[in-house]
Symmetry: C3
Subunit: 214 residues, 3 copies
């Protein structure tokens, strides 16, 4: 979903592609539940995997958008989607626990990358936090909109809150100049930890139910 140049370290690039693949799988499965055809599955997978980073780069005027220059992203997302279709058709359902954990990991990577890119553009801290969370969740939101559903993340287990917390953690640790990529690592662990805890114990935010009259 668009690692900035400073993340060109092999590790982060690998993480980024892993997140792209995982999000593409989630997209393909959602499209499958809607009975879309092969092309629809591919599009929804691409949008889920690349949508968040693309929206972020367009808003920040951060060009070129990652997948415009490096088509590895498109290839990885398409292969992941096709693999999902073949796997589900010819074997058995994907193990949903693994998927949720992989998805949480992708979320952590994308959030950290998004926050970093925003900070590189000298945005205020609150903007950087929002851009980080947006990078993590926007792909899934667009996916749900295309599939004609109210985005899951707005009424299910804690999801975006995990992103926000991770982005806050990164922004707070940054000024201390920790050695290695320790701040990045801790921020990712924050996202992962909150998200996995939410899944395990079905934690959810309070709803804001408003009936009838406005």
């Amino acid at each position: 979903m668009g690692a900035p140049r400073m993340f060109s370290s092999t590790w982060f690039y690998a993480f980024d592609l892993f997140g792209t693949a995982v999000f593409a799988i989630a997209g393909a499965l959602t499209a499958g539940r809607k009975g879309m055809d092969l092309f629809g599955v591919l599009v929804v997978a691409l949008v889920t995997a690349l949508g968040g980073g693309t929206l972020r780069d367009m808003i920040l005027d951060h060009h070129p958008v990652s997948w415009i220059r490096d088509d590895t992203y498109i290839l990885v997302a398409c292969l992941a989607a096709l693999g999902t279709v073949l796997w589900v058709r010819f074997t058995r359902p994907l193990p949903s626990t693994w998927l949720l954990v992989a998805d949480a990991f992708g979320l952590a990577v994308f959030t950290v990358i998004g926050t970093e890119v925003a900070l590189q553009h000298d945005t205020p801290i609150s903007t950087a936090i929002i851009m980080g969370a947006m990078t993590g969740v926007a792909g899934g939101v667009i996916r749900d909109i295309i599939c004609n559903e109210i985005p899951l993340i707005f009424h299910k287990e804690i999801y975006a809150t995990a992103c926000l917390s991770g982005a806050v953690c990164l922004v707070v640790l940054k000024p201390f100049g920790l050695p290695g990529a320790l701040d990045t690592g801790l921020a990712m662990l924050t996202v992962l930890g909150i998200r996995l805890a939410a899944i395990r114990w079905h934690l959810a935010l309070p709803r804001f139910q408003l009936l009838g009259d406005r």
Copy 2:
């Protein structure tokens, strides 16, 4: 929703923030009617308040988008949304008449700002009018799309027509070089007047009902 530099006059900045707050309240209320959680309410409020200006700036390549550099917009929108949640939960429904009037005022501000920004980019007049109306209505359209509804403005009382009229008014008055911000003020009054009249007397555009066969 993104006052351009030329509007840095205190008055217009205050108007802009007021419009942002009002649109955020409208977004929070829509999200509440869908039973979203706290985070969903915040996102929908932000999108409603900042969506129109962001889309305009991305299309015009007008960077940085206002809230990227000045996080007052995000703060105002979030506070307005949180305040709405608390108010509605602990007291009583918001007075809908006040809200409609405030919303009409926000619409007037955003339309004028949008038209001005487009004109600054030397667009043709018809493009500037469309960009003005888009700045006013796009946030609400994206809000309704996220909430899985057909956008209100396409089948309810006159709404976008008020924006279009205000933008036309501004474009027509501009060349006369009126003193002060008289042209801007008259354009805003046009939007306000038409919108309030539409609310008061339930004015609506004719529908284009097309049944069955295409």
Copy 3:
């Protein structure tokens, strides 16, 4: 939908405007089936006609977006939409076969233009193919999202596959440096041929139906 400068040849400009008009008609008809008012019809028509090219230009940072400088696009789209409303209201339904053929032609033009613009920006080949297909189909996808439907192209007759094939054809022929605009013409014929065959014989891609458990 945004012919790049290199297409300023009169022919291509005319094709581009023709595609814009046809897509605007398709948008107006969809809005009509949803009982939108006149303004909604206009917006949906504009979005269908200009959405794909605008999204492409924003992602590629290809500014100014065509209709920002040349308001012929807006005029053509609005006139086509208004004409559709008047025609359908006062005479009889539009002949759907003609519409489908015209739409296929618009699709061919937009796909070729989209692929060319992407190649001008030195994107990898796979990115150019995806941008070409996106230019052709995104307008219709956004239209269906606004109208609160799952995008038609994801579960009906072959549509996007025609775009993809045309874009592949253009990318393959390009290096041979054929005389005239032979490569462009052949790519357009590919889109047209596949799409018309799909309509004629109701060809569809296999669906990826996934029930119940994920």
